[in-house]
Symmetry: C2
Subunit: 342 residues, 2 copies
DNA sequence: AGGCGAAGCGCAATCGTGTGCGGCAGCCCG
DNA sequence: CGGGCTGCCGCACACGATTGCGCTTCGCCT
């Protein structure tokens, strides 16, 4: 019997464990002097109440489950930082789970979280969408989705408004004079990717440009995928003069691939990203991108969840606007490549 | 009574809850046909065993607590990714807590983790050191420290070997011809900072260079602190020709401050960092730094903890070597500044 | 002095799960 | 036909905490 329990405190203080419980929780039903004595003794013998026993009775664990793609993705890390900020203040502890973009793994992770009886779930960049329901429903656990695909069946969601932002980036490139603009997407079918691509297509259409299938390729949302996808684009008979990337990591990979071919950004090819990582102003060259308020979105999602847990049945679906940040990775195309297309 | 419990399954299957428990845990004490029937029914009515009840009885929660500075720090994020990788495979779930470099907050976080009865603790960049003992001891919870200060009283630790690496960086700068070399440290008193600074001093001494106090300033381990500290160095009557920074984020901030003054890296001032972030090859210019195997160290620490939890009483203190990575942010000093010092 | 109300504390049930032990069949064998 | 053995299953308790309810005690008032 290693861990010292409430009964050990009771024995040491010569009271019942009920009184100890009340004393430590500050109940008015116990004499202040007795309470003080009990607290002193509990402190002395190193008593730490067990959340297990408590939660079993109270039916609340004061924990929330957070499932992300991978915490190594700086977008997710900042998101979680924002979540921590508000949940911690409210006394909640976070259970972290990674999906690695694998639906099966995501469901396993969610199941583990629910076995630990988290009070609520925050899922970012989830791929399973509706399949959460049969898991969450019987337990009555609320969920708030972040940048999720198909949030239809759910009541609460926080998302970056990718489509207008994607359109704005593309129009920025068109405004610079580009006509052959590529899109490097993501191969996992995230909703954010679909929306950014849609915005890209919208902009092209609005300016009478054709969306050429060979200019829409797929990365993996990380640097490696950006390198690979960009290398493929450079193999084309007529490579693009500008590239809009699903996210900044992809863009960084694309810039590496471009330099590896002896070309320069933005003189030979313009590159734009999405997210505005903490580092995106310090890349070479500084990256044109869309600022996504990551920590803010995490905090917003967490606040929503806490409200629901507090009993406020607010149905809400927030779409946060992105802000185009123009830096040095985008510029007008070279004269000889500007013509002859379209 | 929202959540469906083991008794509900028992009722539905017309057996006792003991039999359900055994059936679901694959005990040989129950008829295979009965077990199959029970499993089918449990599945159908959406039963998810409660880790609370189980842990109360088994005295294991299959969770481990991870306390980091802040998850927004990419070093910590990669560390946690490495931890997740191995703990997940073993069926453990992670409770995440942040200290924000505040000892009091770190202890509060640790207390919360222990109330949830985590089976073990991984603490990265901890500042409280010995004060963990009175918390952990009574509960018998093992801890593995990562890049920690004063790991003396503990049995298990994984650390980057900062001192030789710091010396190597400084000698690299000296080898390039620098004589006025500054160090931008960290104001929180981390052990890693102390060691890197010690390595820096060693190198100076070994080459007969004086360690000038005005060239040792303090940042905060983040970009903002690097900007501030570098700005102060540039105000000196005779600024340094090279700067060794506590970490890459600090170095990135330093490079921003240098550019803000209209100077260039490395032509006017050389900058070196530490960590080798995923981004450090893509900064402008690419950063000379020390590669720290972050995910590997996280995995190593997690494996150590799992071994201890499995009963293997391995006392170990691993020091992982760092590898100097020379990129473009360091170069020989300009002729006029190389002379005239020391 | 006796009665009555309030304050303070303990009893016991409960949450969901695991498990030692005892019981109850059915079967085999003497 | 009876006894013993084996295979399955249920009873009951334990884990650590919370909480409604009842009991004791004490002080105050008449």
């Amino acid at each position: 019997m290693h861990p010292v329990s409430i009964k050990d405190v009771a024995r040491a203080a010569r009271v019942s464990h009920s009184t100890v419980s009340r004393a430590l929780r500050g109940s008015p039903l116990v004499n202040p002097k007795t309470a003080a004595r009990i607290r002193r003794i509990a402190q002395k013998i190193g008593y730490l109440p067990s959340a297990l026993g408590r939660s079993l009775k109270t039916r609340r664990t004061l924990t929330i489950g957070v499932v992300v793609n991978t915490i190594a993705d700086p977008v997710m890390a900042e998101l979680v930082a924002g979540i921590q900020e508000v949940t911690n203040r409210a006394g909640y502890t976070i259970l972290l789970a990674e999906s690695h973009s694998d639906p099966e793994r995501e469901l396993r992770a969610a199941r583990a979280l629910l076995e630990h009886r988290v009070d609520g779930v925050l899922a970012a960049a989830s791929r399973v969408g509706p399949e959460y329901r049969p898991l969450l429903e019987p337990l009555g656990v609320p969920i708030v989705l972040i940048n999720n695909q198909h949030p239809k069946p759910y009541r609460h969601a926080v998302s970056i408004d990718s489509q207008p932002a994607g359109r704005a980036v593309t129009e920025h490139l068109i405004g610079l004079g580009h006509r052959r603009i590529a899109y490097i997407g993501d191969r996992f079918g995230y909703q954010t990717d679909v929306e950014r691509f849609t915005g890209y297509c919208e902009a092209l259409a609005a300016h009478g440009l054709e969306q050429r299938p060979e200019l829409a390729v797929k990365g993996d949302g990380m640097i490696a995928g950006g390198i690979e996808a960009m290398a493929a684009l450079l193999e084309l008979r007529r490579p693009p003069t500008a590239v809009f990337c699903y996210n900044d990591l992809t863009a960084i990979g694309a810039m590496r691939a471009i330099r590896a071919r002896g070309l320069r950004v933005p003189q030979d090819i313009s590159v734009a990203g999405f997210d505005d990582l903490f580092i995106s102003a310090d890349t070479n060259p500084p990256l044109t991108t869309v600022r996504q308020p990551k920590a803010h979105m995490g905090a917003l999602a967490a606040e929503t969840l806490l409200k629901v847990l507090a009993g406020q049945e607010c149905r809400m679906e927030v779409r946060v606007p992105g802000e185009l940040v123009i830096r040095d990775s985008t510029a007008p195309p070279r004269a000889e490549s500007a013509q002859g297309d379209d």
